[in-house]
């Protein structure tokens, strides 16, 4: 019966009948959104520090961070799996095959992106802007907030890049999450599952939803970015 339905009908069916599908969408947003937020909280101050200070080994550190932006997610997933698996050094935390493990892996993928892009965005500001704020009377936190606002174009792009990178990765989520249907399945791992089952229409639809999710988040950030 299903095979005789048109693609739009299948979409309606999935939303109406297949309630776990909506859960997968929400779970995807939750896991990647949390990992992005954590990466911004940790990565922005690090990027800010690197952009504002000169110290020995700074270029080497930036080289490592920039290389980290291209880390294969599946390798990050493997490292996190080795750490979290029952016999691993953090095995007693009992996090393997949980959403927390997926957030951790995605956080590790996103953080170098946030640090690298934040550093570049802040370095693109006039070099004396920090000095100006000091003589105008801004403290450290105020200086950081004003510079962040000045670099909002680049920083919004940073968040988009980080979210886009982790919401679309499949390797790390599969390895540390295990693609468990009721707890750790996200859109990318669901696409892999549906494809392997021969459910190409469902896989394609999930792909469209993933693209839509990325688009909505990017659009929201772009509106903030472009606001005058």
């Amino acid at each position: 019966m299903a095979s005789r339905c048109s693609f739009p009908m299948r979409v309606i069916e999935m939303f109406a009948v297949d309630s776990p599908f909506l859960t997968v969408v929400l779970r995807t947003f939750l896991v990647s959104g949390t990992a992005t937020a954590m990466a911004v909280l940790v990565g922005f101050p690090i990027g800010y520090g690197i952009s504002r200070r000169s110290f020995r080994g700074r270029t080497l550190l930036l080289g490592f961070i920039n290389a980290g932006m291209g880390m294969p997610p599946v390798v990050v997933g493997l490292v996190v799996w080795v750490m979290l698996v029952r016999s691993g050094p953090l095995g007693n935390l009992d996090l393997i095959y949980t959403r927390a493990a997926m957030v951790l892996a995605q956080f590790l993928i996103a953080t170098p992106i946030v640090v690298g892009f934040t550093t570049a965005s802040l370095q693109a500001l006039p070099p004396r802007l920090g000095d100006l704020l000091s003589v105008l009377g801004a403290g450290r936190v105020r200086t950081m907030l004003i510079l962040a606002r000045e670099a909002k174009l680049g920083l919004a792009a940073t968040i988009m890049a980080a979210f886009g990178a982790i919401v679309s990765e499949v390797g790390a989520s599969m390895v540390v999450g295990g693609n468990l249907e009721r707890s750790t399945r996200v859109l990318t791992t669901a696409i892999v599952t549906e494809t392997s089952r021969g459910e190409i229409e469902r896989a394609l639809f999930l792909g469209l939803i993933l693209l839509g999710l990325t688009f909505v988040v990017s659009l929201a950030l772009t509106i903030i970015q472009q606001r005058r």
């Binding site: 000091s134 003589v135 105008l136």
Partner: protein
Amino acid sequence: MDVSLEGVRVERDGRMLLDIPSLSLPGHRTIAILGPNGSGKTTLLRVISGLDRPNAGRVLIGGIPAHASRAAYVFQEQVFLRRSVRDNLELGLQLRGIDPAERLRRVEEASGIFGIRHLMSRRADRLSGGEGRRVSLARALCLRAPLVLLDEPLEGLDRPTYSRLLHELPQYLAAFDATRIIVTHNPDEALRLAQDLVVLVDGKVRASGEKRDVATNPRQPDVAEALGYFVVIRDGRRLAIPPNALRAGPGAMEFLMEVDEVIELVASREIVGRIGEARVSVELPEGSEKPVRGDRVCLHAERFFELS
């Protein structure tokens, strides 16, 4: 407020940038820090402002250690937030906790003095060079800081804007009820704008005092060069010649100049060359014969100072 430096030393990467055992700058005057490029002028200004800390020694502003928030600093580059001119003028006042009514009053007053009322809603980071300098000065004035520091305030302007601002700057500076310190490498600017001079060479204060005393008695060759004099050796004596006192032709104090270059101007020509090791230039009077590279031309000094 008086500014005093005691035993100030600044080193970067093993290189001594500033070494000032003692320096006192009187309050409520305009002081020019003059020196060639790389002499440590901006480093000195940053140390006085409190933006940089010296490796040794201390800087006191009115007897209190220097702190960035007690100075108004006009940077050499145009440094603005990507906001309106009004927002940029108000920012420092907001950060210093000035109430809105007083902010408005100060911004209105400063914008009137510097003639920038028509720019208030424009984006500050998109202003022209001359407009940007005026806004930077107005922002500094709004702060009512006891110390105003200007780093090469006329650098990088086109010639008409430069001339206009050079002419207007003394009256702008008079608007500041503060000690005003200007960094420049241009002796003309220093002599025009300042009441006192500090000559800095290789990170060391080589001369300081009232501008007339310093400018008419340079004593040391490096001080004389920083002040724009030609320094030449004649019969074993070092002489400092003001550029406008060197003339073509014979005179009481004559020199032979070897010509390196002849520059054709509209109504005259300028020759550039060397007297011994010293590089000098002089304008030739109309109708005089055109020399060529390698010729020896007789010059004389109408005025000069003997150096130690």
